[in-house]
């Protein structure tokens, strides 16, 4: 293993040699890159070359008004239920980390239930609330449940309550990631615990929360497809409706996939941008990014 040229010589004058990067790594990189491109092109070639896909159908429906409506619905469902769950999730997270065992138990039970049952079931339940509760009495007014719970309300209610359970865990993770010293410093300048949480801890927790919340948003974007069972026409529901008519099932699924890829990519870019913005002025305060020597 040790060649003679690696045994110490006694030269001690002149500038030392330049050390070059190992060429092996570069060769390996190139080989892997070529292989990966070959695989991707190969798969694309098989899919395209099989001639089974009607690209003109995909082109025709991609920007069809009914598709754009579906996309808008998907976005609306995602944004509204995400925003609402940020509020309920924060409340639940505050309950889970509070010193009060009763609040902790309630929050835990909520999370157990809503994480434990499929979203599909929850959506169907809310949609058919009228089966159990034909009318609601609110402040003396009696109102028929079914006129209150439209498919959209049911979809939003189901998504929101479900995603709040996940959001709670995300927010709790963020709060715990902020050093206790920050809370103590905030208290020591006279803040009340609540103000310390809202003004000092939460703003810092956001940096930890955002990446996880971004993942949640991406999951939610795709989970909204489940609401097609109660007839809310988002992306997947729309393409399935069209496919049932024209039988171009694979083509319509590709249309849906492309739309999801677009939305997810845009969401990811937005997330990166936000993360970068929030890191301003903080960057270097974090431990230096791990550099696993591997």
């Amino acid at each position: 293993m040790t060649t003679t040229t690696d045994i110490e010589s006694s030269r001690t004058t002149g500038p030392g040699p330049r050390i070059h990067r190992r060429p092996g790594a570069r060769i390996f990189s190139t080989a892997v890159a070529v292989l990966a491109i070959a695989v991707v092109l190969g798969i694309a070639g098989i899919v395209v070359g099989s001639g089974t896909i009607h690209w003109e159908i995909i082109a025709q429906y991609f920007f069809a008004p009914v598709m754009l409506n579906g996309v808008a619905t998907t976005l609306m469902l995602t944004v509204v239920s995400l925003a609402a769950s940020a509020v309920l999730g924060t409340l639940l997270a505050a309950m889970r980390i509070s010193g009060n065992p009763v609040l902790r138990t309630i929050a835990s039970a909520y999370i157990w239930f809503f994480r434990g049952t499929p979203l599909l079931v929850q959506i169907v339940f809310w949609f058919n609330l009228g089966l159990f509760l034909p009318r609601l009495d609110i402040a003396g007014f009696t109102i028929s449940t079914n006129s209150l719970i439209t498919p959209t309300t049911a979809a939003l209610l189901g998504l929101f309550l479900n995603v709040s359970a996940f959001m709670c865990e995300v927010i709790r993770g963020g709060l715990l990631a902020v050093d206790t010293g920050q809370t103590e410093a905030a208290l020591s300048i006279g803040m009340t615990p609540r103000r310390a949480l809202l003004r000092i801890v939460l703003p810092q927790a956001i940096r930890v929360i955002l990446p996880a919340a971004g993942n949640l948003a991406i999951d939610l974007l795709k989970a909204t497809s489940l609401v097609y069972v109660i007839g809310t026409k988002e992306i997947l529901g729309t393409v399935q409706g069209i496919a049932a008519q024209n039988f171009y099932v694979i083509e319509m699924l590709i249309v849906a996939s492309l739309w999801y890829l677009v939305l997810v990519s845009v969401a990811s870019l937005g997330q990166s941008w936000l993360e970068a913005r929030l890191a301003r002025g903080i960057g270097a305060a974090q431990p230096p990014a791990a550099r696993p020597n591997l």
């Binding site: 103590e184 410093a185 208290l187 020591s188 300048i189 006279g190 810092q204 903080i282 960057g283």
Partner: protein, 261 residues
């Protein structure tokens, strides 16, 4: 705010504190007079940090009396019963007590100036302009007039700790607590922080300082308390405690600190 008649900045009597089954403070009696620079020294685990944290209500205590500036801290009296103080009462008491932490605990998302003025703006609700004016004065006082707009991540450890000191004194506290303010610093950076503390002591700021910097305690301290096993084992002038102590525990501790190895 009317100033009570008594002259004690801090007075505790029989202070007791347990974590679960482990009793950490075994009835501490300790008084800090106004304008004193009081030092607490003692072995690791003897309860020094816990004591400071009780004074600042970062820990509750189980028994005893704790008065800061003449007001009961951490507890309220309801007739004959003494009960834990409410969160709002605690917060209002705490606003008059400054604290400097070992690990600085600056708010990383605020500039030095914003850190120093956070309490003025967010707690005392001063206007920004007025608060920032005072903040600049404070930064100048700790020698950082030109770093007002730097974020903590852009400051050295010593500079960060000086910002933390400015933040702690911003609201004119009756007392400032220091918990090993230099032990997280590179040896080279210790000096600049001690210099700022020396100035504060000279200006008559009441300070209660936990430290391992014995020579600094000797130089600056009005009084030194040696704590061992959750009790004050010895109190007195620096020279009495550090140079001429009769207490064998004190001597042993100082020997270990002084001559490593």
């Amino acid at each position: 705010m009317t100033t009570p008649l008594l002259d004690h900045a801090v007075r505790m009597h029989g202070l007791q504190k347990s974590f679960g089954a482990v009793r950490v403070l075994h009835g501490v009696d300790l008084t800090v007079e106004r304008g004193q620079a009081a030092f607490i020294i003692g072995p690791s685990g003897s309860g020094k940090s816990t004591l400071l944290r009780c004074v600042n209500s970062l820990e509750s205590y189980d028994g005893g009396e704790l008065w800061v500036d003449g007001y009961l801290v951490g507890a309220e009296r309801r007739g004959d019963r003494w009960i834990e103080a409410s969160a709002t009462l605690t917060a209002s008491r705490r606003a008059r007590i400054g604290m400097v932490f070992q690990r600085f605990n600056l708010f990383p998302n605020m500039t030095a100036l914003e850190n120093v003025t956070a309490g003025l703006r967010m707690v005392l609700k001063q206007e920004s302009k007025q608060a920032f004016e005072r903040g600049r004065e404070l930064l100048a006082r700790v020698g950082l007039a030109n770093r007002a707009d730097s974020y903590p991540s852009q400051l050295s450890g010593g500079q960060q700790q000086r910002v933390a000191i400015a933040r702690a004194i911003a609201a004119n506290p009756s007392i400032v607590l220091f918990d090993e303010p230099t032990s997280a610093l590179d040896p080279e950076l210790v000096g600049e922080v001690l210099a700022v503390m020396r100035d504060l002591a000279r200006d008559g700021m009441t300070m209660l300082i936990v430290t391992h910097e014995i020579s600094f305690a000797e130089e600056v301290g009005d009084v030194v308390h040696f704590i061992d096993g959750g009790k004050v084992a010895e109190s007195g002038s620096p020279s009495a405690v550090i140079r001429h102590s009769n207490n064998p525990r004190t001597a042993e501790f100082l020997a270990r600190i002084r001559k490593p190895g």
